[in-house]
Amino acid sequence: MNGNLQLNADGSLRHLLTLDGLPARILTQILDTAESFISVAEREVKKVPLLRGKAIFNLFFEPSTRTRTTFEIAAKRLSADVVNLNIATSAQSKGETLLDTVANLSAMQADMFVVRHASSGAAHLIARHVEPHIHVVNAGDGRCAHPTQGLLDMFTIRQHKGAFHNLRVAIVGDLLHSRVARSQIHALTTLGCPEVRIVAPRTLLPRDVDHLGVHVHYRMDTGIKDCDVVIMLRLQNERMQGALLPSPQEYFKYWGLTPDKLRHARPDAIVMHPGPMNRGVEIDSDVADGKHSVILNQVTYGIAVRMAVMSLLAGG
């Protein structure tokens, strides 16, 4: 799905909107490119000139600190000019439409838009309407996709586990509302991971979730049993409203990752979390800061992966 919108006629990447339908060769190309950027961070001058003279607009229609910051750092390390726009507080509140905002910024000679929006499909919509030379990177749209997060999670898994074809991965938490989980699932299944599990109460699962190629578990003990990778999802406070869950305490008791529950996973399992964490709700501090945790590595890798995506899109 959406393969055509994301790819040029020659099969190279034109936009990054979703990992759903992207071929494995593209995912691997991004991960390999990211690997080469890891060393840039270790240099004294942390810059390469790949995007010199390019203008990148960070369009954040929804607040974000971590994702916006890592995109900004990544763009600057590629020597691009970066403009940050928090549109939640400017144009849209004056009644301007999404496409009007984009058209206005396009007129300022943008080369790339990095877009975060509260509605699923917003990045697709923009990609369908921008001029051919402009690239769109989805930095999170509604519940649909967060492809760079999914990619940096794959990068993290590959760094620690080497390959995907022999892994058992459990994703724990609020899949219903999670764009991160959807991107992780598409990436894992595309890269050949043989068993992807979802662990959550029924209220946090979409109907027909099994069509995404995952195994559904309601219980943590069986859900993460013998897993090589345990990915915890953020549980937003507002989920306590609307009768999705009774209380944070009960959620933590049954689905929060504690050292005790983690013993069901493989002894060398890694624990991941896209952040920001709710300690004591979905994850215990002893696990978050413990020896299985690779959560801070994810953040570091996030910069390299976003450099890879932006350079592959606009560096040619």
């Binding site: 799905m1 959406n2 919108l5 759903d20 439409t97 999404l98 496409l99 929006h117 509605s119 699923s120 499909g121 917003a122 697709h124 919509l125 309407h129 749209d141 509604g142 519940r143 649909c144 996709a145 509302h177 764009r179 959807r182 979409p206 109907r207 027909d208 979730v209 069509h211 995404l212």
Partner: protein, 427 residues
């Protein structure tokens, strides 16, 4: 004006006629079928050789967007589009701004439509004041002003007691109530069928029980009150099964489906195509097959266009923010023909679903070709291909899931009240 329609294949579902006949029209009425009456001299002679001549279509849901939404469409444009679609009678839902909840508004609308060329317009009155689901409207007075039925359109009716009272009050005057069954809590914020595509795209979902739970409630209240209820826009297999059982039990109910729902499914939403953001949502392929089967079986009483012209600005938004609906009054005929062809249903039975049977639901004199009856006639080429595009659609709304696609079946002439109201110039 005297008109002769010559050599056409006359198909009239009401009488079962399917044969080549000449039709003679004078003073707004059909005065003869077959041989011309003595000293009949036509002012206008329409050659219908190779064409189908059928009753003008009756569409149970056409939004004309007036009053209040003139930036989307106007009476003039949509009535012209309806005539171009072969529609000669239409019901317009009360979801205007303000809603059709006062006799004065309905009288104004009737007056405006009477003075605008195009189909006969039958307003559906609001069941509750401002469509808020709280207070009843003056249904009896609204009926006197011209309302043929009462509905909430797509507005929620949260309070079941209000629904019961509305049905009881309608029974008092034997007024029909048209309801689109949807539980407002289960559907809250949803924009797509609760299935594989919503799971994949992360779209807020409307589960099938939103339809079936509401249906069950309404059916129980129909048994209680004996109200004349018409179910609008059924979307699911489970919902159709419930209506089948209720009809089998002898309940006095009817139902319709939107013509797009007989062809499209959740799969068509899959690239965030906002033109496939419809109400109710396009459901699974199994649901669509059930709709097609229920049409062939005769369970569904009518097919309507659920015409909803939307301006581009309101559609060029992320899927869930986009205004729902599709322009459709010009597609009702070709999409019904497409379903009939694909399902092996005879033309006369397909036309029944868009002529005689919806006219029966409206309770008006329409949908038949009869000597002495009104000369509302649709003359079309059943095989002519045409491409749906912003240029070929006369409706101001260009929001069609079929943009760029070719359909078969093109209206050549539409007669309304004995006048040639529409004539296709190029074909």
């Amino acid at each position: 004006m005297k008109i002769r329609i010559r050599n056409g294949r006359v198909v009239d579902p009401a009488s079962g006629l399917d044969a080549v006949r000449d039709i003679h029209v004078a003073a707004g009425r059909i005065i003869a079928m077959g041989a011309a009456p003595a000293d009949f001299h036509a002012n206008l002679d329409l050659d219908a050789a190779g064409l189908v001549v059928c009753p003008g279509l009756v569409d149970l849901s056409v939004r004309l967007r007036e009053p209040g939404f003139e930036y989307m469409a106007t009476l003039e444009t949509e009535m012209r589009a309806a005539a171009a679609g072969g529609v000669t009678s239409l019901a317009c839902p009360p979801d205007t701004d303000p809603p059709l909840d006062e006799p004065g508004l309905v009288e104004m609308l009737k007056f405006r439509t009477r003075n605008t060329p195009g189909p006969r317009v039958y307003p559906v009155g609001a069941l509750t004041w401002k469509l808020r689901g709280e207070r009843l409207t003056e249904m009896a007075e609204l009926q006197e002003a011209g309302c043929v039925a009462f509905s909430q359109a797509d507005a929620p009716l949260v309070d079941t007691k209000v629904l019961l009272r509305a049905l009881e009050y309608a029974v008092t005057f034997d007024l029909p109530v048209w309801l689109r069954p949807q539980d407002p809590h289960l559907a809250h914020d949803g924009v797509a069928h609760d299935g594989v595509v919503a799971a994949r795209l992360g779209l807020p979902a409307i589960p099938v029980p939103a339809e079936t739970v509401a249906l069950q409630t309404i059916l129980l209240l129909v048994r209680e009150t004996g109200a004349r209820v018409h179910f609008a826009r059924l979307s699911s297999r489970a919902g159709l099964d419930m209506v089948r059982r209720a009809k089998h039990d002898g309940l006095r109910i009817t139902c319709d489906v939107g013509v797009h729902h007989a062809h499209l499914s959740e799969m068509d939403v899959a690239d965030f195509n906002a033109n496939c953001h419809l109400v109710p949502p396009l459901r699974s392929i199994r649901d669509r097959e059930a709709i097609r089967h229920a049409l062939a079986e005769g369970l569904v009483d009518a097919v309507c266009s659920d015409h909803a012209p939307v301006n581009d600005d309101a559609k060029e938004l992320p899927f869930q923010e986009a205004e729902p609906g599709a322009t459709g009054v010009e597609l009702l005929l070709p999409l019904t023909l497409k379903w009939a062809r694909e399902s092996g249903v005879p033309l006369i039975r397909a036309l029944d679903l868009i002529t005689r049977r919806p006219a029966g639901i409206l309770g008006v004199e329409a949908g038949v070709l009869a000597v002495g009856g009104p000369a509302d006639v649709c003359i079309f080429d059943p095989d002519a291909p045409w491409t749906v595009s912003p240029k070929t659609l006369l409706s101001l709304g260009k929001n069609s899931p079929y943009l760029g696609m070719e359909l078969q079946g093109q209206v050549r002439y539409t007669l309304i009240d004995g006048h040639l109201d529409y004539k296709r110039n190029h074909h």
